[in-house]
Symmetry: C2
Subunit: 359 residues, 2 copies
């Protein structure tokens, strides 16, 4: 097992990464201080991992119950959140009750937001079971639900007490979700670490074959990079925006296609290819490097373009994105592989060319 510490002062927390961790209650029990916890999970994950997680914790004397939600991004909304509140209130949970999010990014975001807001905040533990959640949404304290007008529009920052990333759970992950998770792994290399990007290029076959050792390294290095950035900028006022490489385009794709039609990682992959293309048009990234970005995404089985969204609609969707500063769209661009930069002054014609090239 590897342990990584996210340094956030009084809100610092550990990430445990390894194999066989879900069945080790001694890792999480010390964080469940009130002796009571609700495991928020979904109907797909519950039959696979809920009992494995809870058996040992119950044996440690922790009073646990499960809240099993329907599976899917379409349920990351107020109604499902309210169902969680209802269950917590029915069970007379007070502020000492801990929420454990067992599932992918949707569960992590929704259970995290429930923990952030139930009785003005209760303790949270994240047990991400998808590659995307392990490398991305379980690190950094972002929580959210969707709004019909935009993804993740309602949310807050709420740091977990601990994160447990067990790569064994990736064995049951659908192929498409594994690939979507790799998009975020590649993103971490792109924005901050050429060496890691090169390691992914060399090990993409092992990752797709779900080699545990390769997965542990990919999760660990991704979490390290994200943790470094989050420690610098917990509330996303500066450096943290670089983690949104591909996301301004990506969120627009997700909204245009309808939540859940494209997976988040797929939309981010196409968005990163578009960001690389835009970076090349603006002269900050070489054509060779832009090609290398697209090639790795394609080897990972990820989309590098999107069709069927007219440029004006694309721009409209991007301009309500949270990353828009005072009405102007800000983009995360690459100046080389391993280094990203935030730009708010992208010329309209370059943007139009990138959007046009995708169609």
């Amino acid at each position: 097992m590897q342990t990584l510490r996210v340094e956030l002062g009084s809100r610092a927390y550990p990430i445990y990464i390894g194999s066989g961790l879900i069945a080790r209650p001694e890792l999480l029990a010390p964080f469940i201080r009130g002796g009571r916890a609700a495991v928020v999970t979904n109907a797909t994950v519950a039959p696979l991992y809920l009992e494995r997680l809870t058996t040992g914790l119950r044996a440690s004397g922790i009073d646990l119950f499960g809240i099993v939600l329907p599976d899917g991004e379409a349920y990351k909304n107020w109604e499902t959140l309210n169902a969680v509140y209802d269950r917590l209130l029915e069970a007379h949970c007070d502020r000492q009750a801990t929420l454990i999010a067992l599932g992918g990014g949707v569960i992590g975001d929704l259970a995290g937001f429930a923990a952030a807001t139930y009785q003005r905040g209760v303790p949270l533990i994240q047990v991400p079971t998808t590659l995307l959640a392990q490398v991305d949404s379980s690190v950094g304290g972002k929580t959210a639900i969707n709004h019909p007008r935009g993804k993740n529009m309602i949310g807050s920052f709420h740091q977990p007490l601990a994160v447990l990333a067990d790569v064994d759970t990736l064995a049951t992950l659908p192929e498409r979700e594994l690939r979507a998770g790799l998009a975020e792994v590649i993103k971490h290399g792109l924005i901050r670490d050429l060496g890691f990007f090169e390691w992914i290029e060399a090990n993409i076959a092992r990752l797709l074959a779900r080699d545990p050792e390769a997965l542990i390294h990919a999760v660990r290095r991704s979490c390290e990079i994200k943790a470094e950035i989050v420690a610098i900028d917990e509330r996303e006022t500066g450096a943290r925006a670089l983690l949104n490489l591909g996301h301004t385009f990506g969120h627009a794709i997700e909204t245009a296609k309808g939540y859940g039609v494209w997976l988040h990682g797929e939309a981010v992959a196409a968005g990163m290819a578009m960001a690389a293309d835009l970076s090349r048009r603006l002269g900050s990234l070489s054509a060779e490097d832009a090609g290398r970005v697209a090639a790795l995404l394609e080897r990972a089985g990820l989309p590098v373009a999107v069709s069927g969204i007219a440029a004006p609609r694309f721009i409209e969707l991007m301009s309500v994105d949270k990353k828009a500063a005072a009405g102007r769209i800000r983009f995360v661009l690459l100046d080389r592989i391993g280094s990203a930069v935030l730009r708010g002054d992208v010329p309209q014609d370059a943007l139009q060319s990138t959007l046009g090239a995708m169609d």
Copy 2:
């Protein structure tokens, strides 16, 4: 004008207290950094103060729009909150947009929670227009909405950038709401400052007559006391619980009677009289002091008892209260006027006697 600073490290903020402040845009303009703000208010307050607040700010070049909600505690719910999100999204507000809460405690709590959660948090300014909101809900960063199963069950902590408490707005406050606000003023004396309690005893007639000088002193000293306690304990893990004197009983009264039937301050007044009675029964408060507490509340025109709630129902309602620790009810009690203490080991018979005496 008096300025009080709430010391919360990087989240420290000023409270401006005085007369004629709403029409002074230079006080708030420096805090509206994005140049754009939405004023969240209600249909009662808007005709009285919205224009007075916005005219000067608009002249300072700030782009403002109003979000006028229906008035009343019954609207402090998800539907109204969602209406605020909708308006912010329609207006393409991004994370730089500031929310200004103009109104009483309901508006402050709801707009505060909207600011805490819209796009994971936007800047907030509080302009409380009731005595209750000026002395209580605008200080300390608590935000919330109600849930059918309990008051303030969903919420978060979100500190404002500034609070502007203009006692001129109290001139239009209904008599009953003025009195309800005095309950919290009296509470601040009770929990921490005998001298202030004695000042209220000597000046209750001036306060009820809305003498601006007396109101400014009452607001200032209340905010000072609350700010001292909040600075020690921002997240309500210790000392801050003392601010809940009367609230464990009070919230149960509000829930039993139905939201908005009793005003919050009225329920807290009866709850403080009950807490004083319970303190006397446990031997921590003298009978003379318990009588003095009830006498001042009565002079302020406030209830000191409640009928029609059976003891088992009362206890049930209190045990789902947020202040309940691991299923046990914790009470804030008085050991003398000016000093409160938190107790989790109240004997059932004393509690039953206090509840029985009220019926």
